[in-house]
Symmetry: C2
Subunit: 202 residues, 2 copies
């Protein structure tokens, strides 16, 4: 059995990451990576589902022992991707989805050059803006803040492997493009060693 693939999916607010991930998870071939964090759980949180909640001491100890694939500090709290859980998923043959931002993506690509970096984007900034406003659930200030972060979130897009435009935002098209990336990778020669030998001995 082939090891699973590590997919890093980044994208600004309004790119439709949630919908795309649901489509991918529905295939049964993907597992969503749960981040670890040192922030205090909120009422809506469930340990091991929204996050793995761990202490600051534990987090720092894991960083030091190489137990975090990537991490960042935000508003005084650590957030990161636990290595052990990630590797267990890959070993099981399932593909791992990491929904992380550009800095984390770069940290992981350094350790795992075979990680697949995908930038999910609305077709344009204008469409992104109208999607965020169309939700009608957030105050104007919050929307402007999210939009302002987009340029920052895209600054390393040139070091990504793929850009997937999410034209509709609701349908399967963007998820299908990501499934195609996975399928193509699985047909690539590096994922199929010793073609000749296996062909004749099978």
């Amino acid at each position: 059995m082939k090891k699973g693939l590590m997919l890093i999916i980044s994208g600004p607010a309004g790119s439709g990451k949630g919908t795309v991930n649901r489509h991918l998870l529905a295939t049964g071939d993907f597992v969503y990576s749960i981040s670890a964090t040192t922030r205090a759980p909120r009422p809506e949180d469930t340990d091991g589902v929204t996050y793995h909640f761990i202490s600051r001491e534990e987090f720092i100890s894991r960083i030091e022992s190489g137990g975090m694939l990537e991490y960042t500090e935000y508003c005084g709290n650590f957030y990161g991707t636990p290595r052990k859980e990630a590797e267990a998923v890959l070993e099981s043959g399932k593909n791992l989805i990491l929904e992380i931002e550009v800095d984390g993506a770069r940290q992981i690509k350094e350790k795992y050059p075979e990680a697949i970096l995908i930038m999910l984007l609305p077709p344009s900034f204008k469409v992104q803006e109208s999607r965020l406003r169309g939700r009608g659930t957030e105050p104007e200030e919050k929307i402007l803040e999210r939009l302002a972060r987009t340029k920052e979130e895209l600054r390393f897009v040139d070091s990504y492997d793929y850009v997937v435009y999410n034209y509709d935002g609701c349908d399967r098209e963007a998820a299908d493009k990501i499934l195609a990336i996975v399928s193509a990778k699985n047909s690539s020669l590096p994922r199929n060693p010793s073609v000749m030998e296996k062909y004749f001995e099978a």
Copy 2:
């Protein structure tokens, strides 16, 4: 509009190239490259459909002027891929299918590093053998000859980009894997220049 992709599809007898190509052509996004040859037309041939029939002088003159993407001599006749027709297809945005063997594939990859080399294979040599015999249309001698060529046809498989196993031989699965390769390539960063600029100016 993006230029089309050049797909080189190789595969031994029984790999199902014909069925796969029909599925690809049915999408309307692909054009099948017609080879040029110096061999005499047979009753079943139509000029410009089975081959472009040209004279030996013409063929040699095209080789010398760089007008052949690849060529080979077989039983005293030349066979090759005319460059002009190929480039016209790519410029039109359609993907070009070249059904050629390993030597031609290597010649093309040298001139067009972006050409996508795909080896289509039955799941194993045993299955290939039973498929060829199952056809019941060829004399044993011919079947053995085809089987004997397989090792030769696979000798550069390691320099291919993809290997696509055709498990069923009749269904769409192998064609879908090739469509996934095309989709993934179209999502790759090199096929999407200036992501950032286009995103904000659109």
